[in-house]
C-alpha cells in the first residue's frame, strides 16, 4: 500500500477550505462545544471567527479535558542546536543559506560541554536541532551525536531535515524516540515562495515525511505549521487533517502538535496573516477539544505572561531557557540565534512557576527497553 497523506491532501482546495471555516456559525460552534467526540467539521467551527466569543468556554473545556487525560503535570524538554549550517533558503529563518553568519557544527567535545550544562538543569528529554547540510550534518553525524549523549538522556527527539524511511529506521534502532517535522505552511504556492531554494523547496517530500516516519515505526511524530506564513485558520485545519489521517494510518504512533508563530515587529519576517494571542489560545484549545490524547507543546517563543497562563489550557509539554544557536548554552553563547526567544527565564524559575500553580514538572517519562 503506497497511500500517503498527499493523496488525501490533494482532494482539498485551500480557498474553499478557508471559506468553509469562515462560514461557520454560532450554531456550529455551540454544537461543537456540546459534543463529547468532535470531528474535523467541529474543529473548523472552533477555529472560526464565530468561536471568538466562546474562548473562555473553550478554555474551560480544554483545561478539564487535559487534566482528565494528563493530570496536573507538564513534561519538560530542552532543545540543543547542533549546527546552523544550512543549504536551504527559508525567508523566515536566521540560518537561511544566504544569511552572512558564522556557521558552526558542534564537535564531540562541544556537545559534551553543552549537555553537561543541560544535565545540571535536570533535563532528561532532549530535542536535537540542525539545519539541512547533508554532507556535514547528515544521518551519520546525527546518529553519532545521539550515541554520544544517549546514556545521559532517556528520551531523544530530533528536528532535522526530512529523511528517507530507511534512514529513520537506522536512527530508531539507535534509540530515537520522536521526530518533529513542521510543514511550515500547507499552502503549496506560499510554501514555494518561502522556500525558493534547497531540498526543502520540495513541498511533497516534506508533506509525506510523517508517512515515512509512521512506516519506520517511530514512537512519536510532531506536527505543526509556522503560523503567520499564511492564514492560521486554514493551516490549523490542515494540521488537524494531517493528524487525523496519521492517527488512523499509523495507530501505534503518538503525536504532538507545536504552535510556532511569526510575531510582527520582532525583526524577522512580518506575518502575512497575524495570529494574535487570542487566536493562539483559540487554536490550542481547538486542538485539545478535537483530540484528548494528542500532546500539545509550547516553546519559549512566547512571552512569560502567555506561558504562565497557557500551561493550564491544553499544553502538555514545555521547554525552558532554550538557546536556538549551536553552542548557545556554554560554548558560544553570543552567536546569532535561529529566532529570538521571548521567555528567557531560567529552568528553575519555570519549574517554580509550574509548582506554584499546582503543576508538577516531569523530567523523565521514558525508558527505552532495548
Amino acid at each position: 500500500m503506497n497511500n500517503t497523506f498527499q493523496n488525501q491532501f490533494d482532494t482539498y482546495n485551500w480557498d474553499e477550505t478557508l471559506a468553509s471555516i469562515n462560514a461557520k456559525t454560532t450554531q456550529d460552534v455551540e454544537y461543537a462545544l456540546s459534543k463529547n467526540k468532535r470531528d474535523l467539521e467541529d474543529f473548523k467551527a472552533l477555529i472560526s471567527p464565530a468561536a471568538a466569543p466562546y474562548l473562555e468556554q473553550m478554555a474551560q473545556l480544554s483545561m478539564a479535558s487535559t487534566k482528565k487525560r494528563f493530570g496536573n503535570t507538564i513534561q519538560m524538554y530542552v532543545p540543543m542546536y547542533l549546527s546552523n549550517e544550512c543549504q536551504n533558503i527559508c525567508t523566515y529563518c536566521g540560518f537561511s543559506m544566504t544569511n552572512k553568519i558564522p556557521r558552526r557544527t558542534l564537535t564531540d567535545d562541544e556537545i559534551l560541554k553543552e549537555i553537561a550544562f543541560i544535565k545540571s538543569k535536570r533535563y532528561d528529554h532532549i530535542l536535537l536541532v540542525t539545519g539541512e547540510a547533508n554532507k556535514t550534518v547528515g544521518v551519520p553525524y546525527i546518529k553519532h551525536a545521539m550515541e554520544l549523549i544517549k546514556d545521559q538522556f532517556s528520551n531523544i527527539t530530533i528536528e532535522v531535515q526530512p529523511l528517507d524511511q530507511h534512514e529513520y529506521e537506522e536512527l530508531i534502532e539507535a534509540n530515537l524516540y520522536a521526530v518533529l517535522v513542521y510543514q511550515e505552511t500547507y499552502h503549496r504556492d506560499e510554501y514555494k515562495k518561502h522556500h525558493p531554494k534547497g531540498k526543502k523547496s520540495n513541498f511533497d517530500y516534506r508533506l509525506d515525511t510523517a508517512d515515512r516516519l509512521g512506516k519506520a515505526g517511530v514512537h512519536k511524530i510532531g506536527l505543526g505549521a509556522l503560523f503567520g506564513l499564511e492564514d492560521w485558520r486554514a493551516d490549523s485545519f490542515f494540521t488537524a487533517l494531517h493528524l487525523k489521517y496519521l492517527q488512523k494510518t499509523y495507530w501505534k504512533t503518538k503525536y504532538s502538535i507545536s504552535f510556532p508563530r511569526l510575531r510582527p515587529h520582532s525583526g524577522g519576517l512580518e506575518p502575512k496573516v497575524e495570529m494574535t494571542d487570542k487566536h493562539l489560545v483559540q487554536t490550542i484549545c481547538a486542538f485539545r477539544l478535537l483530540d484528548e490524547d494528542v500532546e500539545l507543546s509550547m516553546s519559549t517563543r512566547e512571552s512569560e505572561v502567555f506561558r504562565n497562563n497557557i500551561v493550564h489550557l491544553g499544553i502538555t509539554s514545555l521547554s525552558a531557557e532554550s538557546k536556538t544557536n549551536p553552542g548557545g548554552y556554554v560554548v558560544e553563547p553570543q552567536s546569532l540565534e535561529q529566532f529570538e526567544i521571548s521567555d528567557e527565564r531560567p529552568t528553575e524559575e519555570i519549574a517554580l512557576m509550574l509548582e506554584n500553580q499546582g503543576l508538577e514538572p516531569v523530567w523523565k517519562d521514558w525508558e527505552a527497553f532495548k
Binding site: A64, K248, V281, F306
Partner: protein
Amino acid sequence: MNDILKIADKEFNSRLFTGTGKFSSNHLMSEALIASDSELITVALKRVDVDNEQDKMLQSILRPNVNLLPNTSGVRDAKEAVFAAQLAREALETNWIKLEIHPDPRYLLPDPIETLKAAEELVKLGFVVMPYIHADPVLCKRLEDVGVQCVMPLGAPIGTNKGIKTVDFLEIIIEQSNVPVIVDAGIGSPSHAAYAMELGADAVLVNTAIAVSQNPVQMAKAFKMAVEAGRMAFNAKLASVKKHAEASSPLTSFLQ
C-alpha cells in the same frame, strides 16, 4: 441520497445483514429474509449439504441481489477455519467468508489469536475476509493490517439479545477504522440496531432476534426500518446532549 456501502468489490443498498440460523422453517426464513431487504446473508457451511444442489435452505435464500456469505461456524482454530473457507469457496462459488472461530461451545466467543492467524492466511489465499471478533480496537487494527475487508465486532455475546454492551470500544473502533465496521452479535431489538447505526457503524448483522421472534417477518421489516432510521440519523448528525460549562474563574482574562 446516495449512501451505498462498499465492501471489497460489492455494493450494498441495505445495511442490514442477516443470518439463517434458528428459524422454525425454511419457508418462514425465506419470507423474513425477503422482508428484511438484506443483500448479504450468512449461512453456516456446516448446515449446508454441499453435495445436494437442491439443498432446501440454499434454495430458500437465493434471490437476485442476494449475496451468500458462508461462515466458518463450528471451527475451533485457524487451520480448521482455512479448510472450511476453502470448502465454502468451492461449494458455494464465492470467495467471501465470514470468519468465526469459537473454540468455546458455550458462549461462542471468538478466539482473537486464531482469528488473526486465519485472516492473514485467507487474505493471502484471495478471500474477502469478514472476521467476527470481540470489540477490541487493537485487534481491529491488526486485522486491518493483514488485509481484511471489514471488521465485525460484537455488541454483546452472540445470541443474548442484550444489545450494544461494548459501546465504548465500538466508538473507538469506528473512529479508527479504515474498513467498514459491522456490528455483529448481541443485537436483540430494532432499537439496538438503530443505536449501532447512530454510533456510526457501517452495517449490522442480525439473526437470532429475527429468527426467534413471534413474528419473524414483521420483525425483519422492523429491523430494516430501524437500520435505515439509524443510518439516516447518523448522516443527519444527532443533536447533542446539552452540557453546561460555567466560567467560574476566567482562564482567559490575561488576554484582555
